[in-house]
Amino acid sequence: MSPAGIGFLGIAIMLLLFATRMPVAFVMGVVGFVGFSVLTSVQGGLNMLSRSMYEVFVSYDLTTIPLFILMGQLAFNAGISRRLFTTTYHFFGHIRGGLAMATVSACTAFGAVCGSSPATAATMATVAIPEMKRFGYRDRLAAGAVAAGGGLGMIMPPSVVLIIYGVLTEQSIGRLFVAGILPAFILTGLFLCAIWITCRRHPDFGPAAEHFSWRRRIKSLTGLIDTIIIFAVVLAGLFKGWFTPTEAASVGAFSVLVLGLVRRQLNVRLIFKSLEETLRTSCMILFLVAGAVVFGKFLAVTRIPFTTASYIGGLEIPALAVMAIIVFIYFLGGCFMDSLAMIMLTVPVFYPVVMNLGYDPIWFGVIIVLVTEMGVITPPVGINVYVVYGVTTAMKQNISLESIFRGIYPFLVATVIGIAILFFIPQIVTFLPSLM
């Protein structure tokens, strides 16, 4: 059997094992390890397994995941997120789906601090989902909005994906970051529309509340104080250059801890509860990442990504068709593979093709981020969906995986529309960088 054939067989076996309810992370690890051993050697496969898992556990960039989750857990247990959402409810509760809209906007705001998409999803899931459920929101809408919204953290600069793209294609990272701002806002707007339409069709998904009087609204503003203090500390520190975006996670967790202790909302028991929940969720998420890395190494040695990319590059069809195929390939690949690994493998092959077609390099970078955003929510391997599921299960919110995957559809459609808009009005991407 050819390596590509073994690759497709591996994907089929992975799907079968998923159906037995074996943990997703273990399935990817087992299939990736066995497939790699078949294609190289058992010795190579065994050693790849231990090294890939350790490589994920010891990665400094990924330490932001537990630390941001810790920040969210502390904020939850200190009641900060509850007060924040009570205020939000006073202002936007009368709009159908208003809290989900506020959550998506909060994801974009949080994205200005955090460059990773699972970290954004994990934090917002901890903070926002229990609150949306408190106000009667359906699982599908609440969890779908957070899983999809997490991706906004990656589009809004700083962004890990844009840095990698910039290095691979020798583009200015500064310009790429600036180029990401408008599309981030447009995608946020599209997500808000997606929520609005969903709630029009299913009014019970995000029930509207009574109209609060302005008196009560202004009174409710005190609920924002803690959030504003924490956000101000983190943002000020980032802009003043006191710490890096990676370190912002620790600073955030530490600020919530200090604030909670000073205001006597946290005690040793609650702190330990937060730490335990964080450990459990982080262990789950990093195992997922490790599984995806092991499986990605198997896919690399099947050479499917390389072969596909060079095949598309050689096609003689109209420019728009080639671009559409490339986006579709990323969509398909994002279903099975860690998006970051896929970008590393394929951008170098696709990039010259896209440049030959006369597209702008910065524009293509932003398109790549948008397709990556799709990859983190598409089944069967959609890391953000698993993150949201893991976080909510740990918090005993009883949301099923299927309802989250169903909940992301409106946002998937919104992302596709977003990509289409950038296709036909590329100036949205290129305008701001051209001012630099």
Binding site: F18, A19, T20, F57, P66, I271, L279, R280, M284
Partner: protein, 161 residues
């Protein structure tokens, strides 16, 4: 059997507390480094220590994560099956999971040994990284044992019922 379970549960909860402290340590150390940097005396290599603390935190939480069923799977197909099929599937996937964890345990310890013998130390502080790998391997061993005991329980219950 019960004694083994009790001991494992005990070890698991001690590990969990250790994991919590490592996690807290990660945040505190980073903040200490930032404070030091603002006063022009950064802690060189602090991010190296942070990553090793992360390894310990994750390793120590392995048995805890297992006992709370934190690793997620796709439920929807299993729910369509009969009780009998479900039990068989459970036996199958748990056995496969134990084999997988046992493999990772052995290979992690082998990796630790390889690193030890090669004389390699961490890049910035020159710390003996292999010690953390041995610790991670030990954590995986406890997790494997916990999973194995759970599997054994399931098989015995099945036979009795």
């Amino acid at each position: 059997m019960e004694i083994v379970e009790k001991i494992l549960a005990r070890i698991g909860s001690v590990m969990r507390i250790g994991g919590c402290l490592c996690l807290l340590g990660m945040a505190l150390l980073t903040v200490a480094d930032i404070t030091g940097r603002l006063n022009r005396s950064p802690i060189f290599g602090s991010e190296e220590i942070v990553t090793f603390l992360a390894v310990l935190a994750l390793g120590l939480s392995l048995p805890y994560a297992h006992s709370h069923r934190s690793h997620i799977g796709v439920e929807v197909f299993v729910q369509l099956m009969s009780t009998k099929v479900r039990r068989r599937l459970k036996l199958f996937r748990e056995t496969l999971s134990v084999i997988f964890f046992a493999t990772v345990t052995v290979m992690m310890l082998a990796y630790a040994r390889d690193k030890h013998l090669s004389g390699e130390v961490s890049m910035n502080l020159g710390l003996p990284e292999y010690l953390f790998l041995y610790a991670l391997g030990a954590c995986f061993a406890v997790a494997t044992l916990t999973m194995f005991v759970d599997l054994l329980q399931f098989v015995l219950q099945r036979r009795n019922s």
